[in-house]
Amino acid sequence: MKDSNTILDEFQDKEYEFGFATNIEMDIIPKGLDEDTVRYISEKKEEPQWLLEWRLKGYNSFLKHPEPHWQNFELPKVDFQNISYYAAPKSKKKYNSLDEVDPELLATFEKLGIPLTEQKMLAGVAVDAVFDSVSIATTYKKTLNDLGIIFCSISEAVREHPELVQKYLGSVVPHSDNIYAALNSAVFSDGSFVYIPKGVRCPMELSTYFRINAENTGQFERTLIIADEGSYVSYLEGCTAPRRDENQLHAAVVELIALENAEIKYSTVQNWFPGDKDGKGGIYNFVTKRGICKGAHSKISWTQVETGSAITWKYPSVILQGDYSSGEFYSVAVTRNKQIADTGTKMHHIGKHTKSRIISKGISAGQGNNSYRGLVQVGAKADFARNFTQCDSLLIGDQCGAHTFPYIESRNNTATLEHEATTSKIGEDQIFYLNQRGIDTEKAVALIVNGYAKEVLNQLPMEFAVEAQKLLSISLEGSVG
């Protein structure tokens, strides 16, 4: 029998499975950031004047913002001047069918298991694939078109639906929100745009795969989803990135707007390169995600499975403005080796009878550090607001850490707020019990972890849940001897 250290060592030496780079000619601007960079990006994308002005405001906010200091980890110095802020594959052609897309690119997607070439088989999933910064192929457009659903890259939305973009861009996450959101506002390259018209229930899961590819190119995605009155949409975001030696900053912004009686479900599976066993070379994932339940009886639900990145730092939040609106946050975050996750949510109760539910499951292995940070805020007018929070931590081994920072601010005494927290350890007894039934240790850990995370995984759409389950198993392989 191998002792736990041998297994741990073998496991830590494991290469990141998706570490390969695609060799395609790239159009990259020189490193560095100033006002001209912002103007260059805007010009390159042939943007209207209002958007350029908005970007410049973002750039100015960026200059004024200090870097945050409240996080529960040491923030590595990010050299903003050492990043190239725009990269696009050189060929500028628009593709009518997949046959025209660069085969090497398609091969990359294939390795990642992205169902671009298997759309028929996977009917029900429309894919807007983002390769570095420019959208390559968008599928299922017609079905969606017929329902009046808009699902396109944000660049296209700026051209085709400027009134919607101008009305909602920055309305949930202002350009001055925080330093990374400000940076994103100034230099965002592309991202997805979704609009679901009144009363329409989107018949398929909308899905975007992001992939960071060009060396030293920060990714600044911008996603904007608007669900008009009485509509419903489920949106999936999945990520894998190839291996790189230098850290890559990822500062995306996602804004969700749910009008009266509308529902948005946003699911993320994040599997970016976490760095090697010493924590070198991983992705910094500093994302601002926020939704607003603008209308009465609206609902926004965030589900995330975070297994990658060297540092994951994000708090998908909901502003519960409409009366009777509800917000949900379901999260599984895994950290191992030297990975760090400081993640959680904020629920701002503004409207009456607003509800929120937070289920957070942290898993720490190796020397990983996992923090849950959450804020539940009940405003003076939010009569009968309710929140339920449960944050659980699972520890594997004795060198990892789990931390919980729950903040509750209530200015209304009709509010009902519940908070539960547990910390547990995968016990040798549990492993041995499963071993004794013929199940090896790796499978045993996978079973236990998937059982632990089940409440969150159950929130994911079927095809995603299976992927997420596998990802959890893979990412914890060998972490118990």
């Binding site: 549990q430 041995f432 019990y433 071993n435 004794q436 039934r437 013929g438 199940i439 059982g451 409440e455």
Partner: protein
Amino acid sequence: MIKTKNMLLNIQDLKAQIEDKEILKGINLQVNPGEIHAIMGPNGSGKSSLASVLAGREQYTVTGGEVTFDGKNLLDLSPEDRAREGVFLAFQYPIEIPGVSNINFLRTALNEIRAYKGEPALDAKEFLRLTKEKQKLVEFDAKLVNRSLNEGFSGGEKKRNEIFQLAMLEPKLSILDETDSGLDIDALRIVANGVNKLRSDKNAFILITHYQRLLDYIVPDFVHVLYEGRIVKSGTKELALELEEKGYDWLKETVNSEAV
């Protein structure tokens, strides 16, 4: 070394320790297919340790002796391979695993064992049929089949789940570690009935117990008394009755006087 062709388990002078404390001090035991052996003895005599060592619990270090199971050196195998070879331990304190359904766990276990033997995985339909059959056989509550593994089960339900698993996995050798403790008389009868239905001339059972009560329901072929890490007396079911009557003290005295 005794070589019997169809011997299932052959333990020769087995010695084991935990944290430098010697617990098993030279165990000898031979089990043939179709036999039921009861191991009795006072607290701390090494009964559960013997079960743990046979199942391969890591905390124990084997310091001497040999164990042959079905012709293989059992001590060379990992705990999961021992299980796959057909060693089943019904735990004294079955473990709870939240969120993992009993049925999903059993399916994984069964298919791992089948894969080891080179058999194809059971499909969902066959598996469900088998589950129903076995659950009826050992009178296991169908509702518990879909619940999380042992989570929130009563002590009796946990023990009965062990017998249900035993029925599903069809091991060659089952070691029941104080399965009778904490059971009321009805549960005890159900557990015993289960074992009686499952016993055949191809499998064998080792019952570890404090009380003769269980042996009223499951009649053993042999009874062994374990004391201070050694089997100090072996006999038939009459020995159990004698122990019930006289307690262990007379045995302890005999052993201690012999040791002097």
